[in-house]
């Protein structure tokens, strides 16, 4: 079994470095190209955990986390796109046009805005055969179908959406849109609780994305420290730079070991909080080690700095995780004042 994961990791890594890395800078400007989406689909990364009879790849959670982590190393946007597509399919495994989703021909997304850090998203209204309302900051809001909640149920909406893309901090491979909903083409998918539960169960996956961001950018910093010299020595020889690379690496390895070696919500909650922290730290270190080059698009480093912060806002509300940890560590609820 161990070996299978290693094989999968190598396969994804190879795909990622060949297909994603090559276009990773262009993705920041022009979005994820359709051709790449179709290649990702052909690899079976969409519907990763769906059983084969539902058209999926039948991977377990660990396998899916490997996909997210390895793709995030090259492009956090791509990893997040895979995450959103999979989340959609997990919640709505019998979606209309599933074949087009699974083959990467069309985009779908899940409106996560009610769960962002300090979100005040208002529920949509469902009445008289129509779903209507406004949602701000929907990731990939221009997708063909969006799963949204009205506060008690969730719906897959397939038309009547008007999305206005905004300039945004991170994950620029997808739009971040304010979406106006006024649609009669929608389908009830389940209860709001279903989406919440699915999101809560995603802590391991979210940790894997953060981990990939941290590892991806630090690997580039380590490489750069070998080839860039200052004061006649490669950067790697300077103790402060060396220590930063080692400190990040130590944390990344420990979190990865713990994340993949444990199951259950407690372990995942700890991993998510810790992986977010290392992603924020590593992206700053890496940019700094790259000096002026770290600050400009061409070098493909600044995007990690933006993406880690944006992800921390999208997935930054740790109240659920803190609740779980509190129960284990204190035996009851704490940390509320």
């Amino acid at each position: 079994m161990m070996e299978e994961y290693e094989i999968l990791r190598n396969t994804v890594r190879e795909f990622s470095s060949k297909e994603i890395e090559a276009v990773s800078k262009d993705i920041e400007i022009n979005g994820i190209p359709r051709s790449l989406k179709e290649k990702i689909a052909a690899q079976g990364f969409l519907g990763a955990t769906l059983p084969a009879e539902k058209g999926g790849s039948g991977l377990d959670e660990k396998g899916y986390m490997i996909i997210l982590e390895e793709t995030a190393k090259a492009s956090p946007s791509v990893s997040m796109w895979i995450f959103l597509t999979n989340l959609y399919l997990k919640i709505h495994p019998d979606a209309n046009g599933k074949q087009d989703i699974l083959s990467g021909k069309i985009d779908v997304t899940v409106d996560l805005s009610p769960y962002y850090l300090r979100s005040k998203a208002q529920p949509l209204k469902v009445a008289g055969g129509k779903i209507s309302g406004k949602r701000a900051n929907v990731i990939n809001g221009t997708a063909s179908s969006i799963i949204v909640s009205d506060g008690s149920s969730i719906y897959a909406v397939g038309s009547g959406m008007h999305a206005v893309n905004k300039n945004h901090l991170g994950l620029r491979g997808m739009d971040l849109s304010d979406v106006d909903f006024d649609s009669s083409t929608y389908e009830k998918v389940g209860s709001e609780e279903k989406l919440r539960t699915e999101l809560k169960n995603s802590d391991g996956e979210i940790a894997a994305i953060f981990l990939g961001v941290a590892d991806g950018t630090m690997a580039k910093a380590a490489d750069y420290s070998k080839v860039r010299t200052a004061f006649d020595h490669p950067l790697k020889d300077y103790t402060p730079i060396f220590d930063e690379i080692v400190a990040a690496r130590t944390q990344i390895e420990l979190i990865r070991y713990y994340l993949y070696g444990n199951q259950g919500e407690y372990a995942k909650a700890l991993s998510k909080i810790k992986a977010k922290e290392i992603a924020l730290l590593a992206t700053r270190s890496s940019l700094q080690i790259h000096g002026g080059y770290g600050y400009i698009h061409d070098f493909g480093i600044e995007k990690y700095y933006r993406d880690a912060m944006a992800l921390a806002v999208y997935f930054g509300d740790d109240s659920w995780e803190n609740g779980i940890i509190s129960e284990v560590v204190i035996g009851e609820r704490g940390g509320i004042i």
């Binding site: 905004k166 200052a230 004061f231 700053r284 000096g291 400009i296 698009h297 509320i336």
Partner: protein
């Protein structure tokens, strides 16, 4: 000891803030950020209104802080037409001052400072651009990287190697190089993370003939001139960082206050605000202390580097913490832009690592055993 600006300074600061509030609207700041465009027209209005007062260094410091509080990209754009002037003011001759600085201060020309090269910015003594004397002029060859105003300035104060000496930092000289000298080329760099209203370019020099009268000061003293300049300019960068941090804190608190008084926030959030504010206050004291040494003609490079490194770290810290406590509200506000702007503070005019090396080297201690 007095920790307050005097009344004239406070009045001046108010004038600058009024200008920034009026000119650096969210709409304008977003436009220049998105389009990576230098706000030429706004600079003209600033000069016309006398918001910039180069006769008084405290006023420059105060203006820098105040402008960057509203928007770093536009704020720094207001300040950079004069970037590097101190090199000529301190080490240039009267003709150079008259010919070049006169035009800059009257707003007829813009200048820049070109030190960094593709091969390195921290290790200034290792630059590769050469200047060879031929009769009444020098011939310059090489390239410069990440030069602010590189695509728009009329002339540059530029560091080049004039001779090879035993010690690397010897044999370097400073020249005034005009854009219209033959063989000068600039190439705008697109896609900066932040301060996108400012102009940044790569410069190439191919057999550029520079008249010998454009040599600043003595040949071979260039490294020393540039380091002296940095010991001054770093106090201004500290003020940039300070302004950015102050602006972010204000905006973050105002976002949170829409939900009620700050005391109604979880203590976690209150503590974060307290930390942000404390660091800003400490950065301000260091910045003003460094400036006060410099403006009293008694510069203290260790304190200047402390101010620059600490204020830069504070700007970055505040930008990240603000995002954490304001969440999606912050991400959808101008804090997003400031978050991207803040990071440059730890890089330009001496990275934080270089500042720490300066502090360790220049620190003076007593004889306590």
């Amino acid at each position: 000891m007095n920790f307050e600006l005097d009344e004239a300074q406070r009045e001046f600061r108010k004038k600058v803030e009024d200008f920034a509030r009026r000119e650096f609207t969210e709409e304008e700041a977003t436009k220049y950020d998105l389009q990576e465009k230098y706000p030429e027209e706004v600079v003209k209005r600033m000069l016309k209104e006398g918001v910039f007062d180069y006769s008084n260094p405290w006023n420059i410091l105060v203006a820098t802080e105040a402008l960057c509080k509203y928007d770093a990209g536009m704020g720094i754009s207001m300040l950079v037409p004069f970037f590097g002037n101190e090199v000529i003011a301190l080490f240039g001759n009267d003709d150079q001052k008259k010919k070049y600085l006169g035009r800059v201060f009257s707003g007829q020309a813009k200048m820049g400072l070109a030190v960094t090269e593709p091969g390195g910015g921290s290790d200034v003594a290792n630059i590769k651009t050469t200047a060879v004397k031929e009769g009444d002029h020098y011939v310059l060859n090489g390239s410069k990287m990440f030069i602010t105003n590189g695509d728009i300035a009329d002339f540059f104060v530029l560091l080049a190697r004039t001779s090879v000496e035993k010690k690397k930092h010897q044999g370097m000289s400073v020249f005034i190089v005009e854009r219209n000298f033959e063989g000068f080329k600039s190439n705008k760099i697109h896609g900066k993370l932040g301060v996108r209203a400012t102009d940044t370019a790569e410069i190439t020099l191919e057999n550029v003939k520079v008249p010998a009268e454009n040599l600043v000061g003595e040949p071979g003293r260039g490294f020393y001139y540039i380091m002296t300049f940095f010991d001054i300019s770093r106090a201004y960068v500290a003020a940039q960082a300070l302004g950015i941090a102050e602006g972010i804190l204000e905006r973050a608190v105002n976002i949170l206050q829409k939900d009620g008084p700050i005391t109604s926030q979880p203590e976690r959030v209150q503590f974060t605000i307290a930390d942000m504010a404390t660091r800003i206050e400490a950065a301000k004291l260091l910045t003003y202390e460094a400036a006060s040494f410099i403006f009293n003609f008694n510069p203290n490079p260790a304190v200047t580097s402390m101010a620059k490194a600490y204020a830069a770290e504070t700007a970055v810290y505040v930008s990240r913490k603000a995002m954490e406590i304001t969440g999606i509200d912050g991400l959808s506000s101008s804090i997003e832009r400031s978050f991207r702007d803040a990071k440059i503070m730890e890089i330009w005019e001496g990275t934080s690592e270089i500042e720490k090396l300066v502090i360790a080297r220049m620190l003076k201690v007593g004889d306590t055993q």
